[in-house]
Amino acid sequence: MLRMIAKRMLIAVPSLVGVVIVTFLLTRALPGDPAAYFAGPAATKEAIEQIRVKLGLDQPLYLQFIRYVGDLAGGDLGNSLTTGQSVAHEIKTRLPASAELTLLGLMVSMAIAVPLGIVAATRPNSLVDHLCRVISTAGVSLPVFFTGLILIYVFYYLLGWAPAPLGRLDVFFSPPPHVTGFYLIDSLIAGEGEVFAASLKQLVLPAITLGIFALAPIARMTRASMLAVLASDFVRTARASGLAPLTVVVTYAFRNAMLPVVTTLGMVFSFLLGANVLVEKVFAWPGIGSFAVEALIASDFAPLQGFVLTMAVMYVALNLLIDVLYGVIDPRVRIEA
């Protein structure tokens, strides 16, 4: 088992290398003068030259790359023009906000999609089945930012149920003492029930938006996978042996059906991390997505590079986790002959 995990980690290394190279190239591939980009639109000629020397942009490319990697190893992602702060620091501070949102969104979607898919598969052509199919087809067509806006309009403007989409917490509350950075967890730890409720209220709409977005592929995959497994030979054997329906569906069908769903999660995460950016813009959520968007608008390139790098590294790590999880579930992968 450990060997499998180690093997998977080794496989992740080339991906990381690729990521680093690509992010490096992205900023060096800028049309025109990279130094000018890094110095900002308002820089004078001297300032540009200063930046050029400072960032080592006058050096040959491979030396720049070595320096880049060195910086990365030391946790240095450059500085933001607009805030003057180190990018690494900003990202570290803002990451929990994005993570909390994304994780909650994923949980919401799985809580709905998986049971929906299972029931749709076990009751073909029923209402649930049709609902599932409609959701799967329509869900992938919904632009995530559009969904968010509609939800705001309906639940905030029309119905007044949701709070104003102004960030993680209403102005009247102050954040709980920092432990994980996740307001929900931290407020529980600190015993601040009101803060918990307030954070949750702010989280609801954006999390549902993300959840709706991830719902479609997961429901579709669960349904398809369950259908395939329910038609398989070993389920037929289980039925022919007289096993109870619940045993057949759960122990025999579901566990096997979840394997492809777990694999799909990797793709779902790719979409989620991208959708995160859009949702953060709509709901003014102070995560790394909005950090990147602000940097974009200001033509501030160091944060952008740091953002892309961070997201990619997180994604590689997530995929690794999924691979390991898959290996845990499926003995065929775990037991290497």
């Binding site: 080339p14 991906s15 990381l16 690729g18 990521v19 190279i21 690509v22 992010t23 992205l26 900023t27 591939a29 800028l30 049309p31 087809t137 329509a138 992938v140 067509s141 919904l142 632009p143 995530v144 930012f145 559009f146 806006l149 509609i150 705001i152 309009y153 905030y156 403007y157 104003a164 989409p165 579709r220 349904r223 398809a224 995460f269 790719s270 979409f271 989620l272 991390l273 991208g274 959708a275 950016v277 859009l278 813009k281 709509v282 990147a292 968007v293 974009l296 608008i297 390139f301 952008l304 590079q305 953002f307 892309v308 997201m311 990619a312 994604y315 590689v316």
Partner: protein, 325 residues
């Protein structure tokens, strides 16, 4: 029952005639024939069209999607000539008017007619989608087919490139590419194509790989075909249907991608009419109740993507019913 018939036949080796008995067996299975009449008819494009029409007729949803697709194409082609108002003309007096007879979709904060802008934007979004899909088909499809068919270094190289792209969350990578290369529509197209490259390459590669050792390829080799001819004449036509399905599905994604990028300010700049940027502009007003500015372009987006997805599903059913989900 079998019947025997004697047919005088000249043997292929030119060895004169000899009688060969031919036993005709009854058809293998009753009640399974899918094709109607077996009369010889024109092959190729006509048969394909006829078959397609048969399937479309059978499946109302696909027919509907196809009709919708035609509407979109028409809007893209003829829209700018038919809209009531100039999409760029602002009229501050008439700003922020809700939908009415005069302005079907209302007006935005600069008094521009939303309906006209939505229709005109069809062209731009459609163009972006088509261009990205065509580009990725060329890049990814060819690379994938070569990788799958020839294997070896080609395969490894294409695989590496695809893996590197896949290591990124795709939208994030697209952001990075557009930001790095410059904030233009062309770069949005390029970014979308790059981001979809692994998918196409992988599909094309898998299909080519499967067929590489397939019986008919072996048989083609036996008949004396060269590798190139096998690739082009035998393998490629086999792959086309699946690629076409994928292209249709990707068109929807390409539009969403482009709209998402313009929503955060990449690619398209004001005052261009494009669905994503219109939603972005209207977002602020959603909160204060002027819903129509963001709603209609968003709905148009949804409808277009939905149409492409349905079309893709329908095409897949025509082409390869076993892959239905």
């Amino acid at each position: 029952m079998s019947k025997a018939a004697s047919i005088p036949e000249s043997s292929p080796q030119g060895g004169g005639e000899h009688a060969v008995s031919v036993a005709t067996l009854r058809p293998a299975s009753t009640g399974s024939a899918s094709a109607p009449a077996l009369a010889p008819r024109n092959i190729g494009i006509f048969a394909a069209l006829r078959h397609a029409r048969y399937i479309l007729g059978e499946n109302a949803v696909t027919g509907f999607a196809f009709a919708l697709f035609l509407v979109i194409v028409l809007a893209a082609l003829l829209g700018p000539y038919l809209v009531p108002y100039d999409p760029l003309a602002s009229d501050t007096v008439a700003a922020l008017k809700s939908p009415s007879v005069a302005h079907w979709f209302g007006t935005d904060q600069l008094g521009r007619d939303v309906f006209s802008r939505v229709v005109v934007a069809t062209r731009l979004d459609f163009f972006i989608a088509i261009a990205s899909v065509a580009l990725v088909f060329l890049m990814g499809g060819l690379a994938g087919v070569a990788a799958g068919f020839f294997g070896g270094w080609t395969d490894r190289l294409v695989g590496r490139v695809a893996d590197t792209i896949m290591a990124f969350p795709l939208f994030v990578l697209a952001m990075g590419i557009v930001a790095a290369l410059g904030n233009t529509v062309e770069n949005v197209v390029l970014a979308t194509a790059i981001v979809n490259f692994p998918l196409y390459a992988r599909i094309a590669r898998a299909e080519a790989n499967v067929r590489r050792e397939a019986g008919f390829v072996l048989a083609a080799r036996l008949s004396g075909n060269s590798e190139m001819r096998i690739l082009l004449a035998h393998v490629l036509p086999n792959i086309m249907p699946i690629m076409v399905v994928q292209m249709s599905l990707t068109m929807g994604y390409a539009i969403l991608n482009a709209a998402g990028l313009s929503f955060i300010g990449l690619g398209v700049r004001p005052p261009t009419a494009e669905w994503g940027i219109m939603v972005a502009e209207g977002a602020a007003f959603m909160v204060s109740g002027e819903w129509w500015i963001a709603f209609f372009p968003g709905a148009a987006l949804m409808v277009a993507v939905f149409c492409f997805n349905l079309l893709g599903d329908g095409l897949r059913d025509i082409v390869d019913p076993q892959r239905r989900t």
